[in-house]
Symmetry: C2
Subunit: 436 residues, 2 copies
């Protein structure tokens, strides 16, 4: 049995703020970053994971990952559902670290990075891409991954088991469908707030040419600008393509409703993050006021407990899980099961650093073994930074290809680690020199 | 004008797990700790603040405080409402750091520590204890401290101003009342889960002799044990004293209701933290099922947005703010205003390291300038670790005395900082030697 003999934690940052890529109403100047973790084993394979941040504080995120080291080093390398479940429960159950959340924020994301690295390791050892590794588990094993604490008023283990068994028969056909057809994607690339109208229009046109039938615009800066941009986007893409909008938490309830009524004539497909990700009741109020415009959130939803409430309250029509915000694969399996129970489609948040690489596995597992459906499902696609990954996400004709390399795809290239290490990699020392 | 010329951050830990002081159903072995911050100024006074943790991860908390240093060092020392407001808005508005929450967990608590240190500095400069410094501000100044983002569906600045003006006339009389009579306290000392029945009974008896008319028991480990302990406590304190119980987030909705129905014959005053602090809807369901037993929570409630929802949903009957969980005085002023709006009494969480020292100021400010009432209000008292503070909380005859020293009372003694510094203070090097 392989053992984990070491854990490396690296602070990796990309100077994206210089290009306004990723700019939105709440995050004007992000430097997309990863607190990156490697679980090193004596016999191989190693496991790779990351927490995505947007710059300052990536060192704090790395420190939180470091704090988990005593739970990892010296441990047998987890290779099956039982061992991956045991690791997850041990990490979220560390009562002293739990105090710093509980189950939210920096410590919770650190657990997510490490849990995902452990899943990567196990999938590599099995020689399978994560989505296939997960989808090969029995319904009982999958249920065993989940912490049902705080969920039982919405979903019990017995119900979860039943849901999984219902779709068990078609698993291999659906896996084959993914290999043949991939999974639908939409693109956010045209819609960053920092872009000119011309750039928006040309990128929207390009999106259609590239086979996408859905794009997304950032909104929430200035109402007149947003109306003009939304109108322009609609003109460019025509009636048949979908245009979603994303306010990145800028609004209170009244502002969200007022603003979206101005955009409504241009048929927005969903409004994403209209307000605080913590505010279940506000999302409910906004959804009630704006129907049939869908309400979506999730990239900043801290854990399964808040997702549960958003679903219980009928506050969201689209659930946007994030691979790195919650406690890794285990908690995302819980979230997929909750979404299935409430009949809400999961459309993951992606972009950032490595999120496209990671979430495609989760959506494909969802399709094969949990929801059994692609209806209304679509994964975000942002065409940035993929060149830094050893197993990059690939989108063709508006669809994510099914990954076939073993693992969970978070591994960064060695060159990238050397060049973008903060603050001492050459990219950053050059920027520091320029500034001084 | 004094300037902030440096920021010291210290990792201070007390080996409390050796005594089972502070043991509860979720936290069996806490080492009460503080990530401690000193804002050093060129002309004095300095400002002192802390984040309370329970051991492992206190270094991560300290790293998060460090990450705020660029916002502090070189800045004019804040001395009035406008400057304290500007600092708070700048810290919560750092978009890159915000990503790590938003407004929750380690980064948010770091902001709390620094904001509280700034308030300490300002109150010292004014020569006033924090509660008097705050209560001397105009309603307009107090409203200006608050971030109303995400609150406007429950409370607008205009409403807040009106609430504050209503109670403005009696401020000086109420301040005088505090000096004469102090503020009601209850004690948790008898009720830790690690204690024997004998210790529970003798400490409960002692609590009555010391003038308390309310005690609290930790519950949630084993139902039979809890029924026996609750019955014993009720026998010891009689019918007239209040006995609250605290489950420290152990339960789901059904378990909470079932368990509390077994304790109901012994008339529990409130059930505290029955379930996840994130779960507004579960608290609402529990409150509906258990009325007239009060539902209380707050020590782990991450920010004003979740408190707002707990109040909007009628999910809590008692609001237990914490001085160090949220973004400091500014966010706690928002929380006090929300509680006033919804007519829910604020009974702060205390204990830990320095929480008694801090929250007495917030409750006294609440009484003088926000709620104007002591009805149903009571501050937790745990008689541990006060000897380490230069301006310790004092309880006499079951009431907190009104603090009179300038500042916010988080300052630790120099000896304590030297002895309990982790891992290199003599207390910890001795423990390490013992263990090796």
């Amino acid at each position: 049995m392989a053992r984990i003999i070491g854990m490396d934690v690296l602070d990796v940052r990309f100077p994206t703020s210089r290009e306004l890529d990723g700019s939105d109403a709440m995050n004007p100047d992000p430097d997309y970053s990863a607190a990156y973790v490697v679980l090193r084993t004596d016999e191989g394979p190693d496991g790779y994971g990351l927490a995505f941040t947007i710059g300052r504080g990536n060192d704090v995120q790395a420190a939180a990952i470091h704090a988990l080291e005593p739970h990892l080093v010296g441990r047998d390398a987890p290779r099956d559902a039982a061992a991956l479940s045991a690791l997850y429960f041990e990490l979220v159950g560390d009562s002293q670290l739990r105090w710093l959340g509980p189950e939210k924020g920096v410590v919770h994301m650190a657990i997510g990075a490490v849990v995902n690295a452990a899943w990567d390791l196990a999938a590599r050892a099995a020689g399978l891409p994560l989505w296939r590794f997960l989808a090969a588990m029995t319904p009982e094993e999958i249920v065993g991954l989940v912490d049902f604490r705080y969920l039982s008023d919405a979903l019990t283990p017995a119900e979860a088991l039943e849901l999984l068994r219902e779709v068990e028969p078609g698993r291999s056909e659906r896996a084959e469908t993914l290999v043949q057809q991939g999974f639908p994607a939409y693109t956010t690339s045209p819609g960053w707030l920092g872009y000119s109208d011309e750039k928006l229009a040309s990128l929207a046109r390009q999106a259609l040419a590239d086979g996408f039938d859905m794009i997304k615009l950032k909104v929430g800066g200035d109402l007149d600008d947003d109306v003009r941009r939304m109108k322009l986007a609609r003109e460019v893409v025509g009636e048949s393509a979908r245009v979603a909008v994303d306010a990145n938490q800028r609004w209170d309830v009244d502002t969200a409703v007022r603003w979206m009524r101005e955009l409504a004539p241009y048929d927005p497909y969903w409004i994403e993050e209209p307000t605080s990700p913590d505010d279940v009741l506000a999302h409910r109020a906004i959804a009630d006021a704006l129907a049939p415009i869908r309400v979506a959130t999730g990239e900043h939803v801290q854990n399964r407990v808040v997702f549960k409430q958003l679903l219980q309250a009928g506050a969201i029509d689209v659930l946007q899980l994030d691979a790195c915000r919650v406690a890794g694969v285990n908690e995302n399996v819980a979230i997929l099961l909750l979404a299935r129970k409430f009949g809400v489609p999961v459309c993951p948040h992606a972009g950032g650093v490595g999120l496209c690489e990671l979430v495609r596995h989760l959506s494909m597992f969802d399709f094969v073994a949990v929801s059994g459906s692609m209806d209304g499902r679509v994964i975000e696609w942002v065409d940035h930074l993929h060149e830094h990954f050893t197993d990059p996400a690939i989108v063709r004709d508006g669809r994510y290809l099914a990954p076939s390399e073993p693992g969970f795809s978070a591994r960064l290239k060695d060159d990238t680690l050397a060049n973008y290490r903060y603050p001492d990699g050459p990219v950053w020392t050059a920027i520091a020199k320029e500034a001084s």
